[in-house]
Amino acid sequence: MRIGIVCPYAFDVPGGVQFHVRDLAEFFLAEGHEVRVLAPVDDPDAELPAYVTSCGRAVPVRYNGSVARLTFGPVTSSRVSRWLEDGDFDVLHLHEPITPSASLMALWASTEPVVATFHTSNLRSRAMHAANPLLRPSTEKIRARIAVSEEARRTVRRHLGGDAYIIPNGVDTSRFRPDGATTRWSGTPARPVLAFLGRIDEPRKGLAVILAAMPGILDALPGVRLVVAGPGDVEEISAGLDPRVRAATEFLGAVSEDDKVALLRSADLYVAPHTGGESFGIVLVEAMAAGAPVLASDLEAFTAVLGDGPAGRTFPNGDSAALGEAVVGLVGDPEERARLRELGLRRARSFDWNVVAQRVMAVYETVIEGADHSPVESALRSGLLGRLRWPTRGEA
């Protein structure tokens, strides 16, 4: 199958959408499909994988409340058209098709069946309302909408109407598979290890919630170690801490990917006290895949990842007392942790790229099948008036 994927954000800048596109493209390439990716590129000298085509330099612009690196204008437009023409794709997969960037331009110029994936959960409605009449005819070209989370799906419903099928982000779970090795973070019954990941000065990651629970936890479990991995100003945080809590807490700063995996594999409990801003709990999937029992705040994104089982324990968002109780209960109950660990390992598998990409492929096939059966598609495009609105390749 010839698959064209468009990413609206600069490919050489790290980000969730970019990684998603990269992983998906590489998975399908490995499966033997022909895959090409079109994306803006920030640094013209950046080393790009062979399957990526640049549609121009990304410019930082303020959009939807934050600065995004996007691309637009006539140069991009003609590159998009040329890429579509060269690619002769069976299916076109656009990510975030309503950002003012390459995806929207590809949607405008496309004649092949279009699949769209929505990642954002916080679209500004003002821009959407203003642009809706303009965008509507383009969005009607989309044959299948995918949302990566329940929140993203609600955004689609609210702003575009209609529905979206949820296919979560994929995670390469094999990287996290437990290897049984002992590390400097492996807990012992006397010194159990709690792991926290995330920027320590970002309130939404919830470090304050677990720090507030620590005195109570230390009363019940004096040997407990809280290992904190994430960048931020340690001095500032630890200065305000109770000396007992400070002694029990180890700040690692920013850690390498290998250290992160090792920490998750060794911890007796992974604690995710996030208070918001998470649209998809990738970190929970990673923890489960590494065999760490999960204790998380009851954010919607988290309960969705943990599933109906559920494959982890939750506590009311922001409630330090409840967090403390749950930690003490779980650390004191190895059987329950072993059960959660098994459930977690199993649950994580359903987020593996293997499973996720098969679902995306099912979407491609369904859409191509529908397009093959659409009778008037070609007759329509020959109308002169139709072309005014639906530019075909080369005219755009």
Partner: protein, 197 residues
């Protein structure tokens, strides 16, 4: 003086008429495109439903399930297939958009699959991944997933057509012609939880 006025007015009227004509033509082709999308989606759904019924029949006759299970599956699947042959969508593509009352039999098939594919049965079937039972089960799973997808995409397309057709301009100028108003397909296609992971 009056000559110029007449010319100006005539030009403006001509421009307005041209704009109206363009808008109507554009709306009509947009609507056509949307109808085409619905038609494509409904035949994709049709094809997936047939494949699901065939895969179920295959599972029923694979010898991997007990006779009672086999009979239950075969009954629901053959009824769905029969319903399809009696009401092929290809005869009247647009009227077929009402789905010819097949929702009931397809829902029955979904329910039969859900009743049969309990956790232990599924694990039993999957034990040997190359056995006819496991292969048939894999086909049932993959077609059932595609039924879900196809139905959602179809219903989204229907919603879009209906929104455009509800516009005053479209109704006033009868831009939809004689095309029947597409209906969403409402049937139960939930997969059994046991096959989901």
């Amino acid at each position: 003086m009056t000559d110029i006025d007449v010319l100006q007015v005539a030009t403006i009227v001509a421009l307005v008429l041209l704009a109206v004509a363009w808008y109507l033509s554009y709306s009509a082709s947009r609507l056509d495109r949307l109808h085409a999308k619905v038609e494509g989606a409904v035949s994709a759904l049709d094809a997936q439903l047939v494949r699901r019924a065939e895969a179920t029949l295959e599972l029923a006759t694979s010898g991997a399930v007990d006779p009672a299970t086999s009979l239950l599956l075969a009954d629901a699947a053959s009824e769905a297939l029969e319903r399809h042959t009696h009401h092929p969508l290809s005869h009247d593509p647009l009227d077929g958009q009402t789905f010819a009352g097949r929702e009931g039999t397809e829902t029955n098939l979904t329910e039969a699959l859900r009743a049969v594919l309990a956790e232990d049965t599924v694990q039993d079937l999957r034990r040997d991944p190359d056995s006819p039972g496991a292969l048939a089960l894999a086909r049932v799973e993959s077609t059932a997933l595609r039924v879900q997808l196809a139905r959602r995409f179809h219903n989204d397309a229907v919603r879009e057509v209906r929104r455009v057709r509800a516009k005053a301009v479209v109704r006033l100028f009868r831009l939809a012609g004689h095309a029947a108003l597409p209906q969403p397909v409402d049937l139960d296609d939930e997969l059994p939880p046991s096959v989901l992971d």
